[in-house]
Amino acid sequence: MQNWIERQPNWLVIAASFSCLLLLWQLLVVLGGYDRFILPGPADVARQFGVVVKDGRLLRHTLITLSEVIPGLLIGLLIALPLGYLLANSPLAERLISPYLIASQAIPGIAIAPLLTIWIRSTYWSRVLVAVIVVFFPILINIIAGFRSVPPELYQLMGSLRATRGQIFRKLEIPAMMPVLLAGLKVGATLSVIGALVGEFVQPKSEGLGFLLVTARYQFKTDLVFVVLVTLAVIALSMYGLVTLLEKRLLRWRKQM
């Protein structure tokens, strides 16, 4: 039996297990006799999905959320890159800055979100900033680990060739840290969705998937809550998939191992 499953293509196994899951879900709803606003069945969710796709609401709110997620991730990366470089290369900077960085991790980034709505007038940017804060640290840690993973022999090799600082950065450090950086970006990609969503929770302006989720809950439209949850999962998985694709392109040499 186990052998038989292992021989099937990946997509078939996933499709089959997903169908089983849906079936169990529907069975639970029917056998348990739950009301639709407590636990809607997959059929209810699918119907609601059709409704919000048709009236354009899902697309509109999804695009709003995406417009917060992607800049959040990129800005987090752009701040973490030079800071990580500094921390990895300067023991002084490391001693000065890292205690604060570590202490700041004792405060959940999510808890800072309400403060940001006080300080930042723009709804949009306060939401982006929550995403930045959430993705920043794991990416930074990976960047530092990436720079530190460069073998000392390769630095000495560059020294023997009298390479400039810039050449060392371009030809050694960046490619050497790329695997670790991309691993960090994968974690950051899923976290950025959480960050943007939290930003939308605390900054309740009438747009974004977070807003849609909150309103759906207030209106006991539990099937719509499920639609939003599924959409969020799809966004997070797509971001993850995108980074994996990037990884496959950039790290082709790894496949040869």
Binding site: P151, E153, L154, Q156, G159, S160, R162, K171, Q256
Partner: protein, 256 residues
């Protein structure tokens, strides 16, 4: 030692070195001088400071005391790149064999000329790796990876080649063959070689002269000329005169 008639190509005086986290200095008052085109081996017990000395001579580590001159210039001011080969893991895994060999030319700014391309390919052929240009390091055996590293160390025609136990991670047979190849390449190119090794027979078989580093802090205690005829062949290791040299070096390392 300073009385040689050939010009001193690589010269060091009064080299002292301490690491920040260690109480005793590693090196104390090391002086040496290599004529251009020489093949010199540096031996000593493990941890004695051979690699540190090698890095100081290549200008990769700044010693706490003393001076190094390369080709008449203080090493810190010397802009000419050198060649260096480490024991292992010194290829860039994201570059193919060819791209690894091309690296020094890129650094020196000869990136796009077809001349430099040909040079990198010729160098790979010289170390016997024609046909492996597009292989990644992970696809190569240990011996092949070290050949690529040697090609990379020589492609920009450095005047000085530093070898830090280059064959230390290889099996005995591959190691012997690589030693012979190294001699062949050295004879084909005008390069001064300093080889750090923990194999006494390798040092005696390859070098013109074996330097012995001893003590803590370490200094050069012996300088044993190896006046065996060249070209050197593996069969020479069986001769009595070769064995005498081996014994001499071994005694020098033990400090007898």
């Amino acid at each position: 030692m300073m009385m040689q008639s050939t010009p001193h190509f690589l010269q060091a005086e009064g080299i002292c070195h301490s690491f920040a986290d260690e109480r005793l200095p590693v090196l104390e008052n090391v002086a040496l001088s290599l004529p251009a085109g020489a093949f010199v081996a540096l031996v000593g017990q493990s941890g004695v400071g051979k690699s540190t000395l090698l890095r100081i001579l290549g200008g990769l580590t700044v010693p706490t005391g003393g001076q190094v001159w390369l080709d008449g210039m203080p090493i810190a001011a010397q802009q000419a790149p050198i060649g260096i080969v480490f024991q292992r893991d010194s290829l860039m895994p994201w570059r193919t064999a060819y791209e690894n060999v091309r690296l020094p030319l890129e650094i020196l700014g000869e990136k796009n000329s077809s001349f430099s391309q040909q040079k990198a390919l010729d160098m790979l052929a010289l170390v016997g790796l024609a046909g492996y240009e597009n292989s990644y390091p992970a696809q190569l055996s240990g011996g092949m990876a070290q050949r690529v590293a040697i090609a990379r160390a020589l492609v920009h025609e450095p005047a000085l080649l530093l070898l830090d136990e280059p064959f230390g991670a290889l099996d005995a047979l591959t190691r012997e063959r690589m030693g012979q190849e190294l001699l062949r390449i050295w004879q084909a190119m005008p390069v001064t070689v300093l080889l750090v090794t923990h194999s006494i027979s390798e040092a005696v078989l390859l070098a013109d002269e074996v330097l012995v580093l001893n003590g803590r802090p370490a200094t050069l205690t012996d300088r044993i000329p190896i006046d065996l005829p060249r070209p050197r062949r593996l069969e020479q290791t069986e001769t009595a005169v070769f064995q005498e040299k081996i014994t001499a070096v071994r005694q020098a390392i033990r400090g007898d």
